[in-house]
Symmetry: C2
Subunit: 140 residues, 2 copies
DNA sequence: GCTTACGATCTGCTGCTGCGTACGGTATGT
DNA sequence: ACATACCGTACGCAGCAGCAGATCGTAAGC
């Protein structure tokens, strides 16, 4: 049988590490940490009402992201304003500068992905990305 | 534009974590650790002449795998015999029992993968696996 | 007013990893 | 024989992850 391939999890996990490693220099060039970029990405999609919700959304510990939020806020990339309606919670959203940084980093990352996927036939690539998206949000 | 998807690295890394997590109970059921299974898999492909080569092959620290090798050897799943030609090195290979365990675990993992991929159209699935394999060994 | 619950923060603990170092046993070249 | 290099092993250290507990401010129900 032609089923002579590495395990799915092994391939995907290894590829994931490689791709993340490829992102590292890009993030460094923009002076953004990995978690910082993850936060910017989450907030770019939609502002968050609590830090706990943000932590859940990005799959991080709620205590882990505090330092990252501090730094992003200090650099003026996010706003962290107490909710006037419930002063326990901090409303989180990108500043215009934060959105600019996120867009720039994202553009650079997409360019790198482009390079990595360049050799693939267009049809294969479409299918691959579609399946990947589906599995990513998928039934798991 | 329709390029509104998460970053490639984010999707692949997250999917990888999910898949690895799905393997964990299977490995536990067969009483094999993650690294143990990785070692068995590597040795199932081909015996190794040195532990350093094995470590390199599976991307682990050479000091990290020693305890795993000890355990696998003690359980009679691998042989670790000094090379008569160079008694510094330990020739590593699966025992028949080790091969049986590896085959059983692998079969269970494949069954689980089958379940996860069940919803995909056959054509998509073929392409996905092919592209994945290519990227995995690929130009990266 | 009092109790209970919740958000953000800080601290400490634990387990895993990567990395460097050191040491003994062994080959190899001169 | 001797110097050098390599293998396997053990040990310690630093960094980072998740997790639990304690604190403080605040909100909501009774």
């Amino acid at each position: 049988m032609a089923d002579d391939r590495p395990d799915l999890a092994a391939m995907v996990a290894r590829l994931g590490r490689t791709l993340v490693a490829a992102e590292r220099p890009i993030l460094a060039a923009h002076d953004v940490s990995m978690w910082g970029y993850v936060v910017l990405t989450a907030l770019a999609d939609e502002p968050m009402r609590t830090q706990a919700a943000l932590a859940r959304a990005i799959g991080a510990d709620k205590t882990r992201i505090i330092a990252d939020l501090d730094e992003l806020q200090e650099r003026g990339l996010i706003e962290r304003e107490p909710d006037p309606a419930d002063r326990r919670v901090r409303l989180l959203r990108l500043t215009p500068a934060g959105r600019r940084v996120h867009t720039a980093v994202r553009r650079a990352i997409r360019a790198e992905e482009e390079r990595l996927l360049a050799d693939l036939p267009a049809a294969d690539r479409r299918v691959f990305l579609r399946v990947l998206q589906r599995l990513d949000q998928g039934p798991l």
